[in-house]
Symmetry: none
DNA sequence: GTTAATATTAAGAAATCGTTAAATGACACT
DNA sequence: AGTGTCATTTAACGATTTCTTAATATTAAC
């Protein structure tokens, strides 16, 4: 992913700062969107789905913290990074900000170089966030955060249950997971579902990913293998 | 190693669960230790060096994930198995748990049977250290976890009954298993099947694995030997 | 050699899984 | 609230595998 593909939304009620940041970030090659209040920010964020939102803590009406909370509660924005802009070196805003789901905070006054490098850092975390990426097993890569499986690099979207089932099987390639175990871990020990439910999910996985990944051991369970 | 030698440390802030687990595990013959918070858990773990720690994910102060990390960083506890207890079907705790070095996780509410069998599984892994792989006997390796027998490195898939029969025979190479004993352990004491049933399964094993592994002792039983 | 036990084979029964379609549920968008 | 879409579960049936049996052949012990 290149800089040109990165969308950054800046939210601040002070026009000067907005322009200052916008100018500097655009010069770096990012796509920049701005707005001057929290409410508008949420709408705009849902619309453009930026990778990063720079959020002023102090704003009239809806402050940064609250805006952040609302953004975090949006499913479509669950992956968006949020960095706070704090007026001073306020501990309180830092703490409250992290609680609200912030990924970083940047102190004003903002020096361009610091800003750029900081944003690069935040985005780096986002881009090679390989804590969520498992190794390639037989051409399959599982991205737990995005609920996507890549089959030879091609993304395959899976609904929740299917993904969780696949994730379970892939967590130990070769290991046979007993039906009981699958029910316990994917559906939860207390949920009661029919026996065919697992099969149907297995079938959908085989349909979407190919027939050769999941093997049946009759009377025992399933396993993910070469 | 016997059950009486196995030490299990249970860590949960809820007294009910602590007692419930403790009772069930003690009844199984394990040595049980308990504590109700993460900090104490780490100290206790260092002191008693349990083989297994059952760790609640959600705890005040130091949560399970963090406790797990700290335990994992202790050299004296590097081989200790850690199983998480998760309140719901929380994906996050599962994933984060495995990242933190968990060996298994068990969903609440916990059913005694599930718990016992799961713990047995976890401990089996511990006892035959290399997952479930038994030593190589005359070119045969039996992997319980993968439900496969390797013959000179080549995987041979066996159906359930055949596999279980083979596993039994291989559990004590050289030992003669009486037909009665085989029926009891593979088919279950209450199941009634004809005498020829065993023979047929033996035959299939010999067919798939070779004639030289299973020896017949007429009038007595069978044994796995070279 | 006789006999009792096991080996072998094929065929039927039983268990389990696969597949499909349709019902139900969840959820977002009007 | 109403609608539409997608995810999930269920139910029914078919397909397949696994297990057991039964009948016959072979083996090993005496």
């Amino acid at each position: 992913m290149n800089k040109e593909d990165i969308k950054i939304l800046i939210v601040d009620d002070e026009t000067d700062i907005l322009e200052f940041l916008s100018y500097n970030l655009k010069r770096e090659g990012y796509q920049v969107f701005v707005c001057d209040n929290g409410k508008e920010a949420i709408l705009k964020a849902k619309e453009v789905l930026p990778q990063l939102i720079l959020l002023d803590v102090m704003m009239p009406e809806l402050d940064g913290i609250e805006t952040c909370r609302q953004i975090r509660s949006e499913k479509t924005l669950s992956e968006t990074l949020i960095a706070f802009l704090t007026a001073r070196n306020e501990d309180y805003s830092q703490i409250a900000g992290f609680d609200a789901g912030a990924d970083d905070y940047i102190n004003k006054p903002i020096k361009p170089r610091v800003l750029i490098s900081r944003i690069a850092g935040v985005l780096r975390r986002f881009l090679n966030n390989d804590s969520n990426i498992q190794e390639d097993i037989g051409g399959l890569v599982l991205d737990r955060e995005k609920f996507i499986v890549f089959k030879e690099g091609i993304p395959v979207n899976l609904p929740k249950k299917e993904f969780e089932l696949m994730a379970l099987l892939m967590s130990k390639p070769g290991k046979v997971f007993l039906r009981e175990e699958i029910l316990d871990k994917v559906w939860g020990g207390d949920v009661v579902v029919g026996d065919r439910t697992i099969d149907v999910h297995i079938r959908k996985l085989r349909e979407k990913l190919g027939e050769n990944y999941i093997k049946t051991i009759k009377g025992v369970g399933y396993k993910f293998d070469l």
